[in-house]
């Protein structure tokens, strides 16, 4: 994968990187599976709030 990303990764560094990825990627895969469920299909990424919370806005949630 590092080669495809054009990321020089010497053999001495591969073990450390692989150790982290071996934990993180299964968890990320599990989250991807969860978020692929039909019930979440309409969710879009949104990181900004554009207005304060109001009872009306909360009622729509």
């Amino acid at each position: 994968m590092a080669a495809y990303a054009a990321l020089p990764l010497e053999p001495s560094r591969q073990a450390n990187v692989a150790a982290i990825l071996s934990v993180w990627i299964p968890n990320a895969n599990a989250l991807s599976t969860k978020m692929s469920a039909a019930q979440y299909q309409s969710l879009v990424p949104a990181t900004l709030f554009t207005h304060p919370a109001t009872p009306e806005a909360e009622a729509k949630s």
């Binding site: 990321l7 968890n27 969860k34 949104a46």
Partner: protein, 474 residues
């Protein structure tokens, strides 16, 4: 720190008290700056909180004194010595972000938050040590030294704003700026026994701050009291034409109603997440804090957040992929200039899939919707800031329960990740000590742009507790 020493009496003043005395001309900004610089000279060789110290602060203080004596009040921070995390740009002054990569970088403008603090009369004492590029939670910096905890210098100060937490706790400034992506203001606030706020995403400008993860980065003040935090926050909050992520939402008055109390406030707790997997003293301190709120007239309600599990993976994915994007060129051109831990995390971040990143971003929307729905039942949430107290300097693992060693990064962000992902504001407030005298902190999480309620709740808590008045033994 004996209170018989006049200089120590100055150092133990809260920012708000110092402001009042400067305004009444009972103390001079010169006295404050001298006291802080002496304290830095005494303690910082051990604590390593500062990367740069500005002796020219004395000249600025003399000018501030002259202005005050001639009736010119620059604003709510006139003559107050402050310090900035070293990822916040100051015009013409070294801004390293705790890195070797930027060791010689001289910005050509102030960051917006720095400019606003300066305009309000704040005097900068220097720039504070941090985890390299803010990508980590220990502040064990390979280039500028490991920051050490004033409650026990063998223990870590957390991070990434570790220098900010230590400088405030050890009375080496009256207020500091930190930045918070996954917990970097709240974690060192809790571990050093001080107050810090992660604002609503978009409430405070990030312009002129070296980014970690654009979609979660925030900046906020760290102080000893909630009132001090609200005062600094009122100076920096608000839209900024230079930062397109800032929101055009009116800024609240954070100070007028701060002492109104919490009678009738509905406090949410999520027992099956925020009260699991804690060191016993942390559990005891949070439970006691909730009882304190109840005694003040607040109502505690249990709330279910169905999809809260999964937040750590989302947090790690986003907080890895975005920095790896920012650092892509440097990682190829000068990889040897990074510390080992940060270099490894940047390499990891390049190897996650785009689908992982985008599903994590979509998860944020889900988590946010659940919290917004929960705000129909409650006004704030209270939970621990992190599940453990300060570990030894250099530790990469932590034991929370049953003698099991856990990876530091995942463990430390267990509770701070939720506000980071949802974008909700969160105030860290000291709420106890463990058996070794190390501080414990709680988070108060609120509705978007409702920092005023957080300050109100935190101030009510501090009105009948004295955790924030304790002084570290250094």
């Amino acid at each position: 720190m004996s209170s018989k020493n006049p200089q120590n009496q100055l150092l133990n003043l809260s920012l708000t008290e110092a402001r009042r005395l400067v305004l009444k001309k009972e103390i001079s900004p010169v006295d404050l700056v001298d006291a802080a610089l002496d304290q830095i000279a005494r303690l910082d060789p051990t604590l390593r909180a500062y990367i740069s110290v500005y002796d020219q602060a004395r000249d600025v203080a003399r000018a501030a004194e002259i202005m005050m004596m001639s009736g010119h009040d620059l604003g709510p921070l006139h003559g107050i010595p402050l310090a900035l995390k070293d990822n916040i740009a100051l015009n013409g002054l070294k801004t390293t972000a705790g890195s070797k990569v930027l060791a010689d970088w001289l910005p050509d403008a102030d960051a917006t938050v720095a400019a606003r603090l300066r305009s309000a009369g704040g005097i900068f004492l220097g720039k504070l040590n941090m985890h390299e590029f803010a990508w980590g939670g220990t502040s064990d910096n390979p280039h500028y030294g490991a920051v050490r905890n004033p409650w026990n210098p063998e223990r870590f100060p957390a991070g990434s704003s570790g220098g900010s937490g230590v400088a405030v706790a050890a009375r080496m400034c009256w207020g500091a700026m930190g930045t918070d992506t996954g917990g970097s203001i709240r974690l060192p606030s809790a571990i050093n026994g001080i107050v810090g706020i992660r604002p609503t995403y978009g409430r405070v400008s990030n312009h002129g701050i070296i980014p970690l993860a654009w979609s979660m980065d925030t900046a906020g003040p760290m102080t000893r009291t909630v009132e001090d935090c609200a005062l600094m926050f009122s100076v920096i909050a608000g839209p900024d034409a230079n930062d397109p992520t800032t929101a055009h939402v009116p800024v609240q008055d954070y100070l007028t109603g701060i002492h109104q109390g919490v009678k009738g406030l509905r406090i949410g707790v999520v027992p099956d997440y925020f009260f699991q997997h804690l060191q016993p003293p942390v559990y005891a301190a949070i439970k006691s804090a909730l009882e304190t709120f109840e005694s003040l007239g607040a109502e505690i309600k249990e709330v279910e957040i169905k999809n809260i599990h999964g937040n750590i993976s989302a947090q790690l994915t986003i907080e890895s992929a975005e920095p790896s994007t920012y650092h892509q060129r440097w990682l190829r051109e000068r990889p040897q200039d990074y510390g080992e831990d940060v270099r490894t995390l940047l390499e990891v971040g390049e190897l996650l899939l785009a689908t992982h990143y985008l599903q994590a971003q979509r998860y944020r929307t889900l988590l946010r919707e659940e919290f917004m729905a929960a705000f129909r039942q409650v006004d704030v949430f209270v939970c621990p800031t992190l599940p453990f107290t300060a570990t030894k300097v250099g530790a990469m693992t932590v034991v929370i329960e049953n003698g099991i060693e856990e990876d530091m990064l995942s463990a430390i962000m267990q509770f701070t990740g939720v506000p980071s992902l949802t974008g909700l504001p969160s105030l860290a407030v000291p709420c106890g000590f463990d058996f070794d005298g190390l501080p414990v902190g709680m988070q108060i999480i609120g509705r978007p742009f409702d920092e005023a309620t957080l300050f109100q709740a935190g101030a009510a808590f501090q009105s009948i507790t004295d955790f924030h008045l304790q002084t570290p033994p250094v």
